[in-house]
C-alpha cells in the first residue's frame, strides 16, 4: 500500500494532472484578452502586369503595410503569424485568396511595424481576370500560444483595383 512504487505513481499522476490543469488554465486565460489591432495597407506601385504564356495573369506590386498588433500578445503567446492576402472573386472561382506577404512576430516589441515591400509570393490568377479587377487586401493574423488553442482574426481593407491594361 505504501510501497515506493505506489508513492512514485501517485506523485507522477498528481504532477501530470496539475501540469495539464495549468496548461488548460493558461489557454483559457487567453479569452480574457480583448485585442484592438489596427492596420493600414497602401498599394504604392504596380511594378508590372502581364499575361503569362500559359494564359494566367500575373501582377507584381509594391506595398506599404503598417500595423499595430501589440494588443494581441498575452503571457501565453509564443508568436503571431501575420500575413496579407489579396482576395477576389472571378466567374470561375467563388473565392481566390493569395498570400502576398507574411511575417512572424516573435514578441510584443516587434508588433508595431511598418514595412515597404514588393509581394513575396507571386500573385497569379487561375485564368485571365485581372484587368480592371477589384480586390480586397486582408491582413490576417494567427496567434500561436505557448500551449492550448490557436486563434485567428483579420482586418479586411476593401476597394483596390488593378489597372485596365497590361503594362
Amino acid at each position: 500500500m505504501h510501497s515506493f512504487g505506489f508513492r512514485a505513481n501517485a506523485l507522477l499522476t498528481f504532477s501530470v494532472t496539475i501540469l495539464a490543469l495549468l496548461c488548460a488554465i493558461a489557454s483559457l486565460s487567453d479569452n480574457l484578452n480583448s485585442p484592438s489591432p489596427s492596420a493600414q495597407v497602401q498599394v504604392l506601385n504596380i511594378n508590372w502586369f502581364q499575361k503569362q504564356p500559359n494564359g494566367n495573369d500575373e501582377v507584381s506590386m509594391t506595398l506599404n503595410i503598417s500595423a499595430d498588433l501589440q494588443s494581441l500578445f498575452t503571457w501565453n503567446t509564443k508568436q503571431v503569424f501575420v500575413f496579407l492576402a489579396a482576395e477576389y472573386e472571378t466567374p470561375k472561382n467563388s473565392l481566390n485568396q493569395i498570400s502576398l506577404w507574411d511575417g512572424i512576430i516573435p514578441s510584443k516589441e516587434h508588433a508595431r511595424f511598418s514595412i515597404h515591400t514588393s509581394n513575396k509570393y507571386r500573385l497569379i490568377d487561375q485564368g485571365s481576370n485581372f484587368r480592371g479587377k477589384e480586390f480586397n487586401l486582408t491582413l490576417h493574423w494567427h496567434v500561436m500560444p505557448k500551449t492550448g488553442k490557436m486563434f485567428a482574426d483579420k482586418i479586411v481593407i476593401p476597394g483596390y483595383r488593378l489597372p485596365k491594361e497590361y503594362r
Binding site: G5, F6, C23, S27, K78, Q79, F81, F83, A85, P91, K92, N93, S94, L95, N96, Q97, I98, S99, D102, I104, P106, Y121, Q126, H140, H142, M144, P145, K146, T147, G148, K149, M150, A152
Partner: protein, 180 residues
C-alpha cells in the same frame, strides 16, 4: 486432517481470483485507451486527431516533438490555416500553412497551395511531379490546438523500438503484480 486441504483450497482460490482481477484490470486499461482514441476520432472527424510534429519546417511555431490537435470540419480551408495533408502515394503526412486558395464556383472544390513557415520555397517541390495544387481529399485536418514537448515520447519510441517493448513490458508487469 480435512482443514489443511480446505486451507490449501481457499488459498488457491484467492490467488486465482486475484489473477483474474488483474487480467480484467489490464483489459480495462487497454479498452479505455482505445475508447478515448476512437472517441476523439468521432468528435474531431479526423482520422488521426493528434499528430506529432516530426520536422522543423514550421519553426519557430512548431518544433519537433510538439503535439497538434486536429479538427476536420465542414468549413472550407482558408489561407493562413495550418493543415495536415497527405500526398498520394506517400505515408507520412505533412503539417504546413496554406498560402493560396482558389475555390470553384460550381463544385466548391478548392485548389490549395501550402508552405512551411521555415521554408524558403512553397511546397510544389514536395508535391508529386506535375502536381501544382492540393485538393480537398488530400487534407486530413486542420490544426486547432498545440501542446509542446509531449510528442518526444512517441518520437523516441519509434526511433528506438526497444524502449517501447521495455515500457509496455514494465507497465504490464506492474499492472499484473500490483495488489490493491
Amino acid at each position: 486432517m480435512g482443514w489443511i486441504a480446505d486451507t490449501v483450497d481457499s488459498v488457491k482460490s484467492i490467488q486465482l481470483r486475484q489473477a483474474l482481477i488483474q487480467i480484467v484490470n489490464l483489459g480495462l486499461i487497454v479498452s479505455s485507451a482505445l475508447m478515448i482514441w476512437k472517441g476523439l476520432m468521432c468528435i474531431t472527424g479526423s482520422e488521426s486527431p493528434v499528430v506529432v510534429v516530426l520536422s522543423g519546417s514550421m519553426e519557430p511555431g512548431f518544433k519537433r516533438g510538439d503535439i497538434l490537435f486536429l479538427h476536420m470540419s465542414k468549413d472550407p480551408i482558408r489561407t493562413g490555416e495550418i493543415v495536415v495533408f497527405n500526398i498520394d502515394g506517400r505515408d507520412i503526412p505533412i503539417v504546413h500553412r496554406v498560402i493560396k486558395v482558389h475555390e470553384r464556383q460550381d463544385t466548391g472544390e478548392a485548389y490549395i497551395l501550402t508552405k512551411g513557415d521555415n521554408n524558403d520555397m512553397d511546397d510544389r517541390v514536395l508535391y508529386n511531379h506535375g502536381q501544382n495544387w492540393l485538393q480537398n481529399h488530400h487534407i486530413m485536418g486542420r490544426a486547432v490546438g498545440f501542446l509542446p514537448y509531449v510528442g518526444w515520447v512517441t518520437i523516441m519510441m519509434t526511433e528506438k523500438p526497444v524502449l517501447k517493448y521495455i515500457l509496455i513490458g514494465a507497465l504490464g508487469l506492474l499492472v499484473i503484480t500490483s495488489k490493491d
